[in-house]
């Protein structure tokens, strides 16, 4: 069962088009969404949430379109955007009261627990909080109404390493329930590498790949060769090549088969960041 299903979605702007693409977030999975600035990550999340009107395609939550039960579906969503969206004049307890009036499933105790855990001061207004603190507040709210599906758009980017680590632990804890799902867009690929089950990569509005993270990492590798050796490599293995004055760095697919076919060439492990950088900057083969 898919928590989120986007089928054949297309959103056209004057100078940018997202899609056509299919995109799913399975139940019980964390999907990491990566891509350059302007690749369409936020547009995709907005499309999922119905904040923009699609030109084509449809969006389903657990098999039902948002219009079928808008309040019920949104009750189960926890959303964090980059930067806070809370009114700046409000104090944190007031935000708690506001959310209590908005969500049927609002858990005051959970909010108090997260408020304490994140060190969110009771007496300060939102405008007096740092960027990191605002982000923590958004996350505390998202986690305090018993959401089943968290959508986090660049949620970790304003946080210090300690808080990022803490947030990832919280997300892992959230994922203990197999009915929960997370869609997390981030520039920080190491965060995604740590918690994501699937990695989706967007480039210029197109979904370049959507793969199981472990399959992605283990099927790819990096090989360093000279130009002559490069010519001899079977093109089927080559994904992307980056050349410098001395050598060619190649991102290859089917790393195990490649190692069997070219035992004389050393295949290094590719991280998610390496793979993304090769797709963005390398010369596609």
């Amino acid at each position: 069962m898919e928590m989120l299903e986007m089928r054949g979605i297309v959103k056209r702007y004057n100078r940018f088009t997202l899609g056509p693409l299919d995109f799913n977030v399975p139940k019980g999975a964390v999907v990491g969404l990566v891509g350059e600035n302007g690749a369409g990550k936020t547009t995709l999340i907005k499309a999922a949430l119905g904040l923009i009107t699609l030109d084509e395609g449809k969006v389903l939550f657990e098999g039902a379109p948002l219009e079928d039960d808008e309040a019920g579906i949104k009750e189960r969503l926890g959303v964090v955007f980059e930067g806070s969206s809370f009114p700046e004049e409000l104090k944190i307890p007031e935000i708690g009261r506001l959310m209590g009036a908005a969500y049927r499933s609002w858990d005051r105790e959970a909010f108090a627990k997260y408020r304490e855990q994140f060190g969110l001061p009771e007496d300060k207004k939102v405008k007096e909080l740092s960027k990191g603190m605002r982000m923590k507040l958004s996350i505390a709210v998202a986690l305090s109404h018993r959401a089943q599906f968290l959508l986090l758009d660049e949620a970790t980017s304003g946080l210090d390493p300690v808080m990022r680590e803490e947030l990832l632990d919280i997300l892992l804890d959230f994922m203990q329930d197999e009915n929960h799902s997370v869609l997390l867009s981030s520039h920080i690929t190491s965060d995604l590498e740590r918690i994501a089950d699937y990695i989706a990569f967007l480039k210029d509005g197109e979904l370049v790949f959507f793969e199981n993270k472990d399959d992605l990492i283990y099927s790819h590798g990096i090989v360093r060769v000279g130009r002559r050796e490069l010519e001899q490599i079977d093109k089927e293995f080559l994904v992307s090549v980056r050349e410098n004055a001395y050598e060619c760095e190649c991102l290859i697919r089917n790393a195990r088969q490649f190692a069997g076919k070219y035992p004389q060439l050393a295949v290094d492990r590719a991280s998610v960041e390496d793979i993304v950088l090769f797709y963005v900057r390398g010369e596609r083969r």
């Binding site: 949104k74 009114p87 700046e88 506001l98």
Partner: protein, 213 residues
Amino acid sequence: MKALIWKDLYCMRGFLKQVVATEAILLGIGVTLNNPAMIAFALLFLSLSLIQASMSVDEKNRWERYALTMPFSRRDMVASKYVLLTAIAVVMGILLMLLNMVLAAVRGEDLTATAAAYLAVAAVYLMIYEVSLPFLYKLGVERGRYVMMGIMVAPVFCVALIAKCLPPEASQRAAELAGAYIWPLLGAAVAAAAVGMYVSYRVSLAIYRKKEF
């Protein structure tokens, strides 16, 4: 929707303090100049502008983008502003009537003329907002504000122009007729404001449904 109204009230506390302070100053000036109508009109104007202020706060904080991920529909978002506008208008109407009664008792004057004037101005202000709100939704608060100023100035300009064009006896006759039929005219104005509220809400909702965040 209750939460959305709560949010607006929380956000407007600061602005509300400013309104009260301004009114206190105007009250002093009004009493000194023996012109209580001035307070009444300013009170109405400032109070109704709370709606515009709340929309400005929403825009600044990108609140709507977030609120639409909460269990609110676009209809809730628009309806909450109209409920608030109506509530402010009703509360201000009651306050003005109370003020009128106090001033009339102190000054020993007839209530009717000033009460009618207050109601008429309240209905006009309300109608100005009813026309303006769809523009604020369509253009955003910053650009919509200019349209709103035009909407406020236009009726005054038209009335002044008509008064200038008409011969003095016709203007006087019109004033006499208005005086004679003041309550039916007021009833019509209030009814027009109520119908206008519904039409304005439907137009705003249609605009808001197409809006992207």
